[in-house]
């Protein structure tokens, strides 16, 4: 004897399993193809007449009325009738021309709140969107970088919105997916970060410009749709400089810069060019300072929360990172192993990406 089957539940459960995210390469390849694919040109009247003969009659009637009206107007002009009021100014033209970046929609009204991020260990500070929580990521060869706005909803899907990579005083750096290399000039650095993989060769050329970062000479480069990898997966806009022999690379995410949007699960925020300028203008080089390391005893480190409200022991290879709104975040090899957050004495706490409030 078998039980009756809830086929609806079975099918829903079974079909829930499978891929949820399109591989980036398919998207990029498709975009490369559309770069050379012309769109179908439409003649609206021909489509409508085929599909709607009544529309053809209406169109004919409208043309007749227009011709009559035009005739009357010309007649009064030549006859020299009374002065007509000046014509109304033409209606607003479509405000966006093809090729222009889309203007923020109604859903993008909120501006981005910036707050100061200081990295004393690597020696820099800058203003950044408060919702871009920093995390430390491995770059290989024991070098680390700081990623901001990682996780779904930021950047190009799961890519960080911004990654800052700082090299050593001898000029060695591991930017993007490149191997560790020594650089001594901006030219060296430019060659390193502009290393387009062979499968992204069909896009528009990269654009370079000179700028200053904290008063020092720097350069930037950006690329088009099909050419956005540049050795940094998903990065679109690089700013790089060398300060006291140490190379600095700021790799901004493609979608954030290109489409001026910070997407979050709750709202899309407007990331305007002015916001980008504010971020870059706020950048300051600092003297790298020794950061107090947690005590290590028998392979176990004691971590103390930034506000001193608690401490705990964790494996020594775990790294400590401080988010902007949580007390402590512990990482292991770039993957969050444990996140500890503490609220304030009013019971207000931030959970995941939800706004601060009494939600716990």
């Amino acid at each position: 004897m078998t039980r009756p089957t809830d086929i609806d539940a079975v099918l829903a459960s079974w079909l829930a399993q499978g891929a949820e995210q399109a591989p980036e390469r398919h998207l990029v390849q498709a975009l490369n193809r559309i770069a050379t694919t012309p769109q179908r040109r439409v003649r609206p009247w021909s489509v409508q007449w085929r599909e709607n003969p009544v529309g053809l009659l209406a169109f004919g009637a409208a043309v007749t009325v227009l011709v009559v009206a035009l005739g009357v107007a010309l007649q009064s002009e030549f006859v020299g009738g009374p002065d007509e009021p000046p014509p109304l100014s033409p209606g607003p033209l479509p405000s966006a021309s093809a090729g222009a970046a889309p203007e923020p929609s109604a859903a993008l009204q909120s501006s981005v709140e910036l707050e100061l991020f200081i990295n004393r260990a690597e020696g820099y500070e800058l203003l950044l969107p408060a919702i871009w929580a920093p995390t430390e990521v491995e770059r290989g060869d024991s070098q680390t970088a700081t990623a901001f706005g990682s996780g779904a909803g930021f950047g190009t899907r799961s890519a960080p919105a911004l990654t800052i990579i700082v090299g050593e005083t001898d000029g060695s750096i591991t930017p993007c997916t490149c191997p560790r290399t020594k650089v001594s000039s901006l030219d060296d650095l430019e060659e390193l970060v502009v290393s387009t993989p062979s499968f992204f060769h069909t896009g528009p050329p990269e654009q370079h410009s000179e700028l200053t970062l904290d008063g020092e000479q720097a350069r930037s480069e950006s690329a088009g749709i099909g050419n956005n990898c540049l050795g940094c997966p998903d990065a679109f806009f690089h700013v790089y400089a060398i300060h006291d022999g140490r190379p600095f690379v700021l790799a901004f995410d493609y979608w954030t810069v290109r489409f001026r949007t910070i997407s979050t699960p709750e709202i899309d925020l407007n990331f305007s060019p002015q916001t980008l300028d504010t971020i870059l203008n706020s950048f300051r080089f600092l003297e790298p300072a020794a950061v107090e390391q947690p005590d290590v005893v028998d392979g176990v480190r004691t971590f103390v929360s930034s506000d001193g409200s608690f401490q705990l022991e964790l494996p020594q290879d775990w790294r400590l990172d401080r988010g902007t709104d949580w007390t402590a975040l512990y990482l292991n090899r770039g993957v969050t192993q444990l996140s500890v957050r503490a609220g304030d004495d009013r019971g207000s706490i931030l959970t995941n990406l939800r706004a601060r409030g009494r939600n716990a």
Binding site: Q21, A96, F259
Partner: protein, 182 residues
């Protein structure tokens, strides 16, 4: 989907189209993967669909209906992929199951039965099942999505559900006979 982005893309703005593709791309790919049951074939269908969507976009009259319209193009590309794959030597390529999301509702043996039953369905029947049970669309929405009548949706759905139900019940009978939990 932002209407303004659709209108920009209709006028040939590739940046706007790229953003649209990123917005709906995951849903399109996930749907294709479930219909064609093969990662590479789903990727091919997805890519072809994006190119078709770009080319035909100026013909879309109502930008508000962009996503349903794009979904219809994707499903047609899936049908093409299935026809192409059908001409290849038959294989049974089971989707890998992520144990973290697998639940007790569907046992391993039942999954196999479901997979076998599903690949015997036509592309049209697969599409209505996926749109109903994965995309959670109503019969009316599926009709709009596929450009067919609600009656046709119901008919395809009925046949597909019964075929899938038969496979599940066959698995349950086997389980009882072999004394393993259904």
């Amino acid at each position: 989907v932002d209407r303004r982005l659709v209108e920009l893309a209709q006028r040939g703005d590739q940046d706007a189209f790229a953003r649209l593709a990123a917005l709906i791309g995951d849903r399109l790919f996930a749907t294709a993967h479930r219909i064609v049951r093969d990662f590479d074939a789903a990727g091919d269908a997805y890519q072809s669909a994006l190119v078709h969507i770009w080319r035909e976009l100026p013909t879309l009259r109502d930008p508000e209906r962009f996503e349903a319209w794009a979904g219809r193009i994707l499903v047609r590309q899936c049908y093409s992929e299935l026809r192409r794959v059908r001409n290849l030597p038959p294989t049974l390529d089971l989707l890998s199951v992520d144990s973290s999301v697998a639940d007790a509702t569907v046992s391993v043996s039942m999954r196999d039965e479901l997979e076998r039953a599903f690949v015997r369905l036509t592309g049209e029947q697969r599409a209505v099942l996926v749109l109903m049970y994965y995309r959670d669309l109503s019969v009316a929405e599926i009709a709009v999505h596929l450009g067919i009548s609600p009656g046709t949706v119901k008919s395809r759905l009925h046949y597909a559900r019964e075929a899938m139900r038969a496979s599940v019940e066959a698995d349950q009978r086997t389980s009882v006979q072999e004394g393993r939990p259904a």
